[in-house]
Every structure is written in C-alpha cells, then in structure tokens.
C-alpha cells in the first residue's frame, strides 16, 4: 500500500536528539577521560538493568515516532491518490490487532463480556438484559465460563516457552560474540558471564532482557486473543493506549531538556564568565522567571496557546498537527520554567573555574573569550549539564500527568498517561470499580520513572567529582 511520510515537529527534534547522542558516542569512543565515568556506570548492575528497561521504552517510543499517512483505496485508475487524514506510526502497524479490536465500552482485563448490561434478544426471541459477549476479547471461546482460564493458561504457557526460546537465542548469540572478541572458549565466557566476572554485569543485563522478552511474548500472544489490560470508555484497548503513551512521556522528558539546554548553558556560562552587568541582567531574568509559580506560568501560556489555536483553525488542518504543536509548545514552556536551576549551577561553577590557573593562563596568552569558553570552560562544566539532564527526566514525566489533570497538559486527543488517569479518575465512583486504565497507566509510568531514577543516580555518582573522591 502506498504511503506518504509525515515528519511532525517533535519527530524532527527526536531524530536530532538521536543524532546528537550517536555523534557523542562516536566522539567519546576514543577519549579515555570521557569513557572512564561511563565505565563506572557500566559496572553497576542496577544502572545497567535500568538502562535495558529505558532502552525498551525508547525503542517503542522511536517506533512511534516514524509517522506516515496511508493512501486511501480508490478504484478509478490514474486518479490522484488521496491520503488518509489519519497519521499512523510504525508502532500502529505493529500493534494493528490491538488498535482494531475496539469494543463497545468498558471491559475488564481478560473479560469475555462487556462491563455493562444491555438489552438483547435471547435465543427464544424474548428480550433479556444481560452482559453481552465482547466482539474480540475471547470471542472464539464456545463456553467462556469453562474454557477461558484453561485457554489463558495454555496461551501463556506457549508464550513463556517462546520467550525463553527467544531469550536463549539472544543469550547464545551474545556469548558467541563475546567469545570471538575475547578469543576464548564459549564455556569459559558463559561461566564468567554467570559469575559476573566480565567488564559489564552481563548476568543482570540478560536477566532483565529475559524478563522484558517474556513480558513481550506474553503481551503479544494474549493481547491478540484478549484485552490484557481491558478496554476504556469507548472500547479502545488499554494496553494499546498505554504503549502509545510512552512516546508522549519520553518526548516531554527529553525534548524539554533539549529545548532549554542552549539557553541554560549559554546564559549560565556568560553570567559566570563576564560578570558585571551581564551577570546582573542574566540573574535578573532568571530570578523573575523563577519567582512565577511554574504551574501557573505553564497554565497561562497553554491558555493563550488554546485561544490562538481556536482563532487560527486553518493552520492546524490535521488533528495530529494540532496535538503535536501543543506537545511541542508544552515542552518549550516547561523548558522555560525549568532552565533556571541549571543556569544558576553553571553560573556558580563558571565563577569558580574562571579563577583557576589554566584559565588565567589562557587569557594571559591572549586567547579570545569565545575560545576560552568553548575549549576550557564548556568541557569542564559538562558533567553538571549531564547530571541535571538525567535528574530532570523523571520529574518531567511525572509532571506531564499532573499537568494533563489540571487541563493544561498535552492535547486531550493525544494518548498520554495523564489523559488516561484523568479519564479513568471519573469512573472511580462506579461499582464495580473501573480500575484497569488507572493501574496500567500508573504501572507503566512507575517502571519508566524508577528506571530513570536509578540510572540517573548511577550517572550522578560517576560524574560528580565531589562524590567520586569518597
């Protein structure tokens, strides 16, 4: 089928971010001082397990960042192909069955019947009120009461076996590659891996990968037959929603930093290096911004954006564009409210650095301001930048949920954990409680934030010179 690629603004920025990270890795490969702290991060089992989980999230998020419009079917030959106004991503194609299995309304995880009663025509022609069967969830079962659990168990069993099989292949491949690289026997390498005697804690990494793979195969096998996490108010699969929300969370967590970083670094270093009136002006700017309560500034900015969008509907003809613009704008506004902390840290560090001999020497030799900043100061404050970037990430992911609840978060049409929580919150008063949307949003968010927190702790321990001494 024909398709037309679509690059949303946030997509472009994500590609840029990935390119920057790859460039940095290539650059740092040959430089020992840059590699040493990372090696320390690599030795920590907790950090590597977190990294694997983070990479799994990032993988899903990247799949969801390749967008295109599918061509509509048209019978007349030679006519111009028209493209659907829906923007789909690669992840949507991967999750096709989940996306298309839309029920009428709520249904519990693994349910075969709808959550609410409906009037139906019985077998003998009389109208009865009962819970109707789901269109997709367990629809193939003849007698759901009897067959459901055995079927779930056997499917899960098969999925477990698949997962273990897949994992063994990956583990064997890895051991083979390592054996070739270290020019040692397979058996020795496997023994070292289990005993944790390698440079990286491979046993921890492999266990984490294994758990993720098992979860993946379980989700894939069961997700096709049932609604693993149930369905929401309009009958959409909750698992699909929570996976789609990953991209939103990651975009907020990373792009916000990407947007604010140039300002924070430039202004912070300038304030600390030039001092005098430059310092005064920059300090004035960040104290002013800092003194406005963050949530209120965000609310004010998003409200004005809403007014702008409603008065200029012609600029946002496709819903996805509108939602994307709002997401990007939210990142920018979050960036504006959160760069001040980093700026202040950088100013302090630069003040300290510019008194140190090598910078005094450089300026005595007549090296220009620009060169001193780029060659001498910037590399020596990079650890502060890195630490604050990784520390901010988890806070931003959590902030998204709160902001969406307040009504100033991402677009209501966009999949996000905040929107899921917000929608499900209103159903808490129902009896029996509709808990599955809430729980799956919270669990996915929790895993991401926990992994990010653990990883950032390891990064901080490795890069912070104050901690390294101890």
């Amino acid at each position: 089928m024909a398709f037309k690629p679509v690059i949303l603004w946030t997509d472009a920025l994500i590609y840029l971010l990935v390119a920057v990270i790859i460039a940095f890795i290539l650059y740092a490969r040959g430089k020992e001082p840059l590699r040493a702290p990372w090696r320390q991060v690599g030795r920590s089992g907790m950090a590597m397990a977190s990294l694997v989980v983070l990479l799994a999230y990032v993988g899903i998020g990247l799949l969801d960042s390749i967008h295109f419009q599918q061509a509509l079917q048209n019978d007349t030959k030679g006519a111009q192909t028209h493209y659907s106004s829906d923007v789909t991503s690669v992840l949507d194609i991967v999750l096709q069955p989940l996306r298309e299995h839309v029920e009428k309304t709520y249904s519990a995880p693994f349910a075969t019947h709808l959550y609410s009663k409906e009037t139906m025509e019985g077998v003998d022609g009389k109208t009865i009120r009962d819970y109707p069967r789901l269109k997709y969830g367990g629809a193939f079962l003849h007698d759901p009461e009897r067959d459901r659990w055995p079927d779930i168990m056997s499917t899960a069993g098969v999925a477990l076996l698949q997962g273990i099989g897949l994992w063994s292949v990956v583990a064997a491949l890895l051991a083979g590659i390592l054996a070739l690289r270290h020019r040692r026997g397979m058996g020795q390498i496997i023994g070292d891996m289990i005993g944790g005697r390698m440079a990286l804690p491979w046993h921890v990494i492999l266990v984490t990968v294994g758990i993720l793979m098992l979860l993946g195969t379980l989700g894939a096998d069961l997700g096709v037959k049932y609604h693993v996490f149930g369905t929401d108010k309009v009958g959409q699969d909750v698992l699909y929603q929570s996976l789609k929300s990953i991209r939103t969370g990651l975009v907020i967590g990373t792009l916000t930093t990407l947007v604010m970083l140039p300002f924070a670094v430039l202004l912070g270093i300038m304030a600390g290096y030039f001092r005098g009136w430059v310092d005064d002006v920059i300090q004035y700017i960040y104290t002013t911004l800092n003194s406005i309560p963050g949530v209120l500034l965000i609310a004010a900015a998003i409200l004005t954006l809403q007014v702008f969008m409603q008065t200029h509907p012609e600029m946002f003809d496709i819903i996805a564009y509108r939602a994307d613009m709002r997401l990007l704008f939210l990142c920018i506004i979050l960036g504006i409210t959160s760069w001040t902390g980093l700026c202040r840290l950088l100013r302090g560090e630069t003040l300290k650095l510019s008194e140190i001999d090598y910078i005094q020497a450089a300026s005595a030799f007549g090296v220009g301001h620009f060169r001193i900043i780029v060659r001498h100061i910037l590399p020596n404050v990079m650890h502060i930048v890195l630490i604050s970037v990784v520390l901010d990430f988890s806070g931003l992911v959590l902030a998204e949920a709160v902001l969406s609840y307040v009504g100033v978060g991402v677009d209501p049409t966009m999949n996000s954990w905040g929107n899921m929580i917000n929608a499900a919150r209103l159903e808490m008063a129902r009896d029996p409680v509709v808990w599955w949307s809430l729980l799956s949003a919270f669990v996915l968010m929790f895993v991401l934030v926990l992994a990010a927190n653990l990883f950032s702790d390891a990064v901080r321990d490795a890069f912070d010179p104050r901690l390294r001494k101890q």
């Binding site: 002013t288 911004l289 500034l297 004010a300 702008f308 959590l398 949920a401 709160v402 929580i421």
Partner: protein, 325 residues
C-alpha cells in the same frame, strides 16, 4: 540587618515589574481582548456588538498602553495596562468573570488551604528529618541501602496515585473519612486528615533522600570526627552536632516554600473538593478566567520573593557566623 531587608525589598521591585510585564504580554498582547471575548461567548456566530459589550462589562475596551482620546493624566491611566496590571501592585485584583471580587475570594479561600498546607509542611519536615537521621545512623549497612531504595521507589510513584489510591482505600473501602468536601470549624478535621496524610506520604521519598545526603555530607567533616574522638555517643553526635550544622541547607529548602503554602496544593485540593486557593486556581484555568490566573501569578511571585528574604534572615538565626550587610 534593617538595611539588608530594605535593600532586598527594593531589589524585589524590578522583579515584580518583570513578572507583571510577562503576564501582561501573555494575556493582552499575545491574545487580544477580542479573542478572549470570543472564547468566553462561544467561538462561532458572535456578533461584534456582543464582543464590544463583553469587553465593556469587563473593562477591556480600552487601549493597551496609551489612550490618545483621554485628557491629561488619563492618557496613561485609562488603559488596560494601568487598570488591569498596575493595580496588582496595590493588591487590587478586580473582579472575576462571574463578577465576584477576586480579593475577597482569596481571603476566604486562604484558610482551608492553610489548614492542609501547614500540617503537611510541619509534620512532613519532622518525618523526613527523623527518617533521614535514622538512615544516616545506620549508614553503610543494609538498612541504609534498602532505605534509599525504598525512597527511590516512593519518589517514582506519581503523586496522583497516592491521592487516588488513598481516597479509594481510606475513603471508599474503609469508609473512615469522607472522600471529599470541606466544612469549617471542628468538623474540618475529618476532611483535612486524609489530604494531609497523603501530602506527607507523597513527599517522604524525595525528602528523606535529600536530608540523608545533607547529613552524610556533614558527617564526613572534621568536627564530627573530633566529637567522636572525644568519646561522644553516636546519637549525641547526630542530634547535637550534625542536626544543628545541617540546619542551613534544611532551611534553604524549607523556608522558600513557606509563603507558597498560601497558594495551596493545586492537585490535592481539587481532588478532595477543598475550597482553597489551589482548587480556585484550577477552576479558573478550566473556565479560562484570566483575571484570577493573573492575580494568582502575581500573588505567587510576591510570596516567593518574601520566601527568599525570609530564608536569608533565618540563616542569621541558626548560624551566628552569617552576617547580613
């Protein structure tokens, strides 16, 4: 001391002017009052007369900065900037879109906000310091390791989860307290206890970890070694020396948020239906009442600056070495 305070207050003026300008630009320059009127009246099929009437009723039918038609001093005062933005400095907030006086509402709603925020603040700090001292006492043992892991887990859970989970568990399953609502007087207790509890639990993870780092940093210093060398028992070292010397960073974190307690907690107030300033702000955001949002932004900035000054003054109280000049 007095000269210092005067200096700081004078320094606050340009900052408040900056805040005022930012809100003015956001609310009146980026969005013209016409757009606001159209939002309030419904987007489509609004007659220009209706917009004019709305603007007149709410006092937006004036030029932004300079009124050429007026006479004398009114050239400057009969403008939106003067009537809507500058009056904030006198704490005259004007009327909300539904005609109520914003200043009166703020004074009324301040008390429920304080009833929640003050206990959360005080009990929260005490709990965090206690846990942090406990963990620091057992530093480099399994209690320390798992204590920190528990803190990281607690701080990785979304604040919304604590609220929703707490409401469901305590309010719905156990039926110990009402799920939401508020009443003045003695009855307030049963409405306030759950939000306070949840506020404390929600902050315990990050708080404990933050204080633990402070205490561990202090414990590496020479005076602690001296105290131990002269044979002081460890609890004595912790409470008499480390806690006292840790007061400066503790105050830095605590005093700044003190004035912001007025603002209430945005999220939990609206979840628990408490008529405080937090829910006031959220309602204003949802009904797009710009007047209230503007007033709260200004009030928040003023309180933040007050907090900064209070922090500096409190340093002199706990550390005699600090002199303000």
């Amino acid at each position: 001391m007095l000269t210092y305070i005067v200096k700081r207050v004078l320094y606050a003026i340009p900052i408040l002017i900056g805040v005022n300008l930012i809100t003015f630009i956001l609310f009146f320059v980026v969005n013209s009052p016409d757009n606001m009127a159209r939002m309030q009246l419904g987007m489509k099929r609004v007659t220009p007369e209706a917009i004019q009437l709305w603007k007149h009723d709410h006092g937006y039918d004036k030029p932004l900065l300079y009124n050429g038609e007026a006479a004398g001093l009114d050239k400057v005062t009969d403008t939106i900037f003067y009537t809507k933005s500058l009056t904030l400095f006198a704490f005259r907030f004007g009327a909300a879109d539904d005609g109520r006086d914003i200043g009166y509402d703020i004074r009324q709603r301040m008390w429920p906000s304080l009833a929640i925020a003050v206990p959360v603040f005080i009990i929260g700090i005490l709990a965090n310091i206690t846990f942090a001292l406990f963990i620091a006492f057992f530093r480099a043992t399994y209690i320390d390791l798992w204590g920190v892991v528990l803190c990281v887990i607690l701080m990785s859970i979304s604040g919304l989860f604590y609220i929703i989970g707490g409401q469901y568990l305590v309010g719905k399953l156990l039926q110990l307290v009402p799920i939401s609502g508020y009443q003045g007087g003695v009855d307030a207790f049963k409405f306030v206890v759950l939000p306070v509890l949840i506020g404390i639990i929600g902050g315990i993870g990050s708080g404990t970890r933050w204080y633990r780092t402070i205490f561990l940093e202090e414990m590496g210093k020479d005076y602690v070694r001296t105290a131990r060398a002269k044979g002081l028992a460890e609890p004595m070292v912790l409470f008499r020396h480390v806690l006292k010397n840790g007061m400066i960073p503790i105050l830095t974190g605590a005093v700044v948020v003190l004035p912001l307690l007025f603002m209430g907690s945005l999220i939990s107030e609206s979840f628990f239906g408490i008529p405080g300033l937090g829910s006031y702000t959220i309602d204003a955001i949802n009904s797009q009442d710009f007047g209230i949002v503007r007033a709260m932004v200004f009030l928040g900035s003023v309180l933040y600056i007050v907090g900064l000054v209070l922090t500096d003054i409190s340093y002199t109280l706990v550390d005699p070495r600090v002199r303000l000049g």
